[in-house]
Amino acid sequence: MLRFILKRAGLAILVALTVSLISFSLLFLSGDPATAIAGEHASDQDVEAIRRIYGFDRPMLVQYWDWLVSALRGDFGESYYFKLPVASLIMDRLSITMTLGVCGISFALLTAVPLGVAAAIKPNSLIDRLALFLSVAGQAMPSFWFGLILIVVFSIQLGWLPPSGTATPLHFVMPTIVLGYYAMPAIMRLTRAGMLEVLSSDYIRTARAKGAPEGLVMFKHALRNAIIPVVSLAAVQMGFMLGGSIVVESIFALHGAGYLAWESISRNDLPTVQALILVFSMFYIVFTFLADVLNAWLDPRMRAG
């Protein structure tokens, strides 16, 4: 078990390193950040001075190494734009993105799993068709468009929900729906497919042959097995969602990490972008790791050999 965790962690670190190296070299290509730091009204000398002060004239690998060493100490440098430590900037923004991500995945799970189960219990029924429609439509719905429509309907026309900001839980309702809806179809389909497969399996027939009531069959025998792949998927989706919250955050003016990422890209704020890419990938890596552990717990076959 320990070996497994160590090996897994090693892999995770290797992945993180590769991601950071790729993103670092990508951003390095973006050319000289000095102009970006200097801002709109800077003169040529300003830019030159900044280039020297920040050390942008050194070779890439040297810069990467420096960055990496300090990143390991939790120091991601200072934002060119905000003049604040990137780490604290991101920590500050992350709470919103995390809240959004947790709400989003909860929304997705709370709608997708019951729908998927219901659809699998009664294939081709009305509810199955509804679920299928929701998932097909959900996959095709551009989230920026969906968000805009929600704002028009619920904020402008009906005035029920605040269109932007984070002041109250109500503010999170629409972003949660948009973000969650993005993850819902995949989860629902997997739940449905998993349930269908499990329901047609021999051990469900065994349970029925014992005279177990349907409720017990569905929720004790079937769901437990069908949910295992859903857990991994939810983790993966959560990772994707955090990365994909850029659009949602920009529509609903949530000052989370996603929005920060978008703005930082526009502002050429490299340390921030760099750190954000790493943070988002770490989330993915950590979530998938946790999902593996949770799966091992749910599925005795994966527990100690």
């Binding site: 991601v19 990422a261 890209i265």
Partner: protein, 298 residues
């Protein structure tokens, strides 16, 4: 035998796989709807110059944001005009080209990369598999939207750049699916038979394995096409995708967004066609998966 007319004898040799497939295709509503809509959009895109009523780039600053006919506009501009007075319908029609082009080419590029990696990993296993799996992990760990935005910001948002970025980013699902399909097929006895016959690896991959996983490939192609179309729209919406005046639907939503409260159709129309295109592709993909899924094959 004298009993050739016996009904029990009739389907001892059943229909060919091709016939079965055709039958299933024509029995699948979603696939048909998706296919027809997609075909229509493809035709529209191909023949855009003949269909579009106006030059999609011709601006008329004096006729800005005229409403579509159903909101009191004129037939001169059936779907109205945009913020620079360009014909909205024509821009939508030309936009189909952009979306389809991006979808198809990006899916092609990523399909090539992903399939090569996935099949290699699945077929050779061992170290090749370990490397490919690692690369897939790395790729999955990179936040697509963020990386795509960053790259487009760096290299500028031309159509080529967007296509390349998406093509180089979206190969993960191909690799994953092709890897597992190959793994599955590799264990079949006909592959062992082919090896025992003395077939080379290339021949086994190309003529024994590929034909049996190509259906999965097609399904992933459609999914990734839809994915690429949506991502391009999202990038364009965020202002880091295809550049104006190229009529991209995402860009149109983004441009119309400013006036959304007063002229919601500016957003609704391009958003809807985008939705319809992606929906059609997805329906087609789902349908293809249904009709070619192994459990439906026999």
């Amino acid at each position: 035998m004298t009993q050739t007319a016996d009904p029990l004898l009739q389907d001892i040799i059943g229909p060919t796989p091709g016939q079965l497939l055709r039958k299933r295709i024509f029995g699948h509503q979603g696939l048909l709807i998706g296919g027809v809509v997609l075909a229509l959009l493809v035709i529209v895109a191909l023949f855009a110059p003949y269909i579009a009523p106006h030059d999609p780039y011709a601006q008329s600053l004096l006729a800005r944001m005229e409403p579509p006919v159903f909101l009191g506009g004129t037939w001169e501009h059936p779907l109205g005009t945009d913020h620079l007075g360009r014909d909205y319908l024509s821009r939508l029609i030309y936009g189909a080209r952009v979306s389809l082009m991006i979808g198809v080419v990006a899916a092609l590029i990523s399909g090539l990369i992903g399939t090569a990696m996935g099949v290699a990993a699945g077929y050779f296993g061992g170290r090749v598999d370990a490397v490919v799996t690692f690369l897939i992990n790395v790729r999955l760990a990179m936040p697509v939207v963020l990386v795509a935005l960053a790259v487009v910001a760096i290299f500028g948002g031309s159509l080529t750049v967007v296509i390349l970025v998406l093509g180089l980013l979206l190969w993960d699902r191909f690799a994953v699916v092709m890897r597992s399909s190959t793994l599955q097929v590799r264990g079949r006895e006909y592959v062992a038979a082919a090896r025992a016959i003395g077939c080379s690896n290339t021949r086994i991959v190309m003529s024994e394995i590929m034909p049996n996983i190509v259906n999965n490939l097609i399904v992933v192609v459609t999914l990734e096409m839809a994915h690429a179309v949506l991502l391009e729209a999202a990038l364009s919406f965020l202002g880091l995708g295809v550049q104006p005046p190229t009529p991209s639907w995402g860009l149109m939503v983004s441009e119309g967004k400013q006036m959304m409260l007063f002229e919601p159709w500016l957003v609704l129309i391009p958003g809807f066609v985008l939705f319809a295109l992606v929906l059609a592709i997805n329906l087609l993909g789902d349908g293809l998966r249904d009709v070619t899924a192994p459990e439906n094959r026999n």
